[in-house]
């Protein structure tokens, strides 16, 4: 199939079926290069399943997936590494408990046989505003926010085009959330990244993503701009309901 050249991510009629139920039933969307697309929905709506298929972590899917003009196969593919990386929700579970920050960051480089490891690590730590003193610490010696910075650094060290963000701030305190969201915005600009972000928090998604897709029951019920979402110009009842539930101080 042919796609416009400027689409970094193409998802077309993606279907994922687990043992006894359809987790994703025909989801399609596109994200332009340098753009950011947010997916919101309740737990079980299939939003994380879409992300894991794109990440190559879920191999049982039907449909068409494309990143940077390259169709994705179902098996793990070596070139995916340079294209797509992911930041996980729980900063306590996404770092190996027995590996230092240095080890976590050098592992992808060693696997890919990239040289210049020392310089790359120093630069990426600087990019995510971690002090050089954190380099040889173990995860348990870091705060939640610092861990999430390490996870972001690990994702970026292979210089991917697309960053998948799975609820990257929902386990963090709001003051730390603000720092991480600012960092993600800065990195997007500096590295020309394309983001796909999943969250249950509409305000967080709308803050980072100009376009938002709403998922419910494995389907994408609406794709709208962040402005429309803010202004309440919603089409589907599910979106209206989600928006009404997001509590804010008047």
């Amino acid at each position: 199939m042919s796609t416009p050249a400027n689409s970094m991510i193409v998802v077309d009629d993606l279907r994922v079926r687990f043992a006894d139920f359809d987790a994703v039933r025909g989801v399609s969307f596109r994200v332009p290069a340098g753009g950011s697309f947010g997916i919101v929905g309740e737990s079980g709506s299939g939003k994380s399943t879409v992300m894991r298929a794109l990440a190559g972590l879920n191999t049982v899917w039907d449909g068409y997936l494309e990143v940077a003009g390259r169709p994705l196969g179902r098996g793990p593919s070596p070139d995916l590494f340079r294209l797509v990386q992911m930041v996980f929700q729980d900063p306590y579970g996404s770092l190996h408990p027995r590996q230092t920050v240095d080890r976590a960051l050098s592992e992808p480089l060693l696997i890919q046989g990239l040289g210049d490891i020392d310089r790359r690590i120093r630069r990426i730590l600087d990019d995510v505003a971690l002090p050089a003193t954190a380099r040889y610490r173990y995860p348990h010696q870091l705060s939640g926010g610092q861990r999430q910075r390490v996870a972001i650094a690990r994702a970026l060290i292979s210089e991917p085009s697309v960053l998948l963000l799975d609820e990257p701030t929902s386990a963090l305190d709001v003051s730390v959330q603000a720092e991480i969201l600012n960092l993600l915005a800065d990195l997007r600009e500096e590295h020309g990244l394309t983001y796909l972000m999943v969250s249950h928090n509409l305000a967080v998604v709308a803050h980072l993503c100009p376009t938002v897709g709403v998922m419910s029951n494995g389907e994408m019920v609406e794709i709208l701009s962040a402005e429309d979402l803010r202004a309440g110009r919603t089409q589907s009842p599910q979106t209206t309901r989600l928006r009404a539930l997001s509590t804010e101080l008047g």
Binding site: L57, L80, F88, G93, T100, P108, I111, Y138
Partner: protein, 301 residues
């Protein structure tokens, strides 16, 4: 760097400057937790003492362990024979020291055979799931289904009694629990986000298992091994006692009890002394294992 290993501030630094410093800092913290546990420390010291006894047996022994002196049969402990003599007039103290070599050697050989095999089988079954899991775990179940001693006896009887066959027999019956343990650990680790992250970095399954999963299974495996050491010692001694392990005249502790059991009523110290040796060694390993379990508690990170 050796000097720095004694520098507590360097070891406990919150921001280590190098890989080495971070690794040694972690080891030092482990050791500190372990050391604070008194029974564990006693167990550790005892095990070390036993190992030293085994290594330096020729220096520490007062007699030749196999030299017979029928004129000096079944002597009670005395200045000449610190722990008395056995039914052939051999010095029990010296035999005990050389016996430590055999017993501990057998235990270490069993562990060296069993731990890597169990770990590899468990991790592979747990990581791949599916067919590999079913096949490997059914094989494990088959070995678990046999009574251990019967299986070992049958194996030794079929080959030929001796230390090598005893070690292989014990190994054959000891690995299944390790495989099960490693598989259970792997199942909880394989779906962790940090494993997903290395998969996304393009790591091969072999690399993921070897470098990321196995190191995490190792902690509980080491604990299990030290706790099992006592039962391996007793198992080795049982085989020796039944004449299927180390053969006379070699001074294996179980064999010593077996040959001296006739004198239990009149010269009770002859079988009792190797019995105490077995008890002390198993207790020491058990106490050390308990301490290791507390120190390696995953909550400590």
């Amino acid at each position: 760097m050796t000097a720095r290993l004694f520098d507590r501030a360097w070891l406990l630094s919150d921001s280590p400057q190098s890989r080495t410093q971070a690794a040694w800092g972690r080891r030092y913290r482990l050791w500190r937790d372990f050391r604070a546990n008194r029974p564990a420390l006693i167990g550790f010291v005892t095990v070390m003492a036993l190992l030293l006894c085994a290594i330096f047996a020729p220096l520490l022994a007062t007699h030749d362990p196999v030299a017979q002196n029928l004129g000096q049969r079944l002597q009670p402990p005395s200045a000449a024979h610190w722990l008395g003599t056995d039914e052939l007039g051999r010095d029990v103290y010296s035999r005990l020291l050389y016996g430590a070599r055999i017993t501990l050697g057998m235990v270490l050989a069993v562990v060296a055979l069993v731990a890597p095999v169990g770990l590899a089988i468990g991790c592979i079954a747990g990581y791949y799931r599916g067919i590999a899991d079913v096949v490997l775990m059914r094989v494990t179940d088959v070995f678990l289904a046999f009574p251990r001693l019967i299986l070992a006896l049958a194996f030794v009887a079929a080959i030929k009694p001796g230390m090598t066959s005893a070690v292989i027999a014990i190994a054959l019956t000891t690995w299944p629990p390790y495989a099960r343990l490693a598989r259970a650990e792997t199942l909880t680790i394989r779906d962790a986000d940090y494993i997903a992250a290395v998969r996304m970095a393009g790591a091969s399954p072999g690399r993921i298992i070897l470098r990321h999963i196995m190191p995490l299974c190792l902690g509980s495996l080491i604990v299990r091994v030290t706790l099992d050491m006592s039962s391996i010692i007793i198992f080795a001694a049982s085989l020796g006692f039944l004449g299927m392990g180390a053969q006379a005249p070699s001074p294996e502790w179980g064999t010593m009890i077996a040959t001296a059991r006739r004198f239990l009523l009149d010269q009770w110290w002859v079988p009792l002394i190797p019995g105490i040796a077995i008890l002390v060694a198993s207790l020491a390993f058990n106490m050390m294992g308990d301490g290791l379990r507390d120190a390696l508690d995953p909550k400590q990170g």
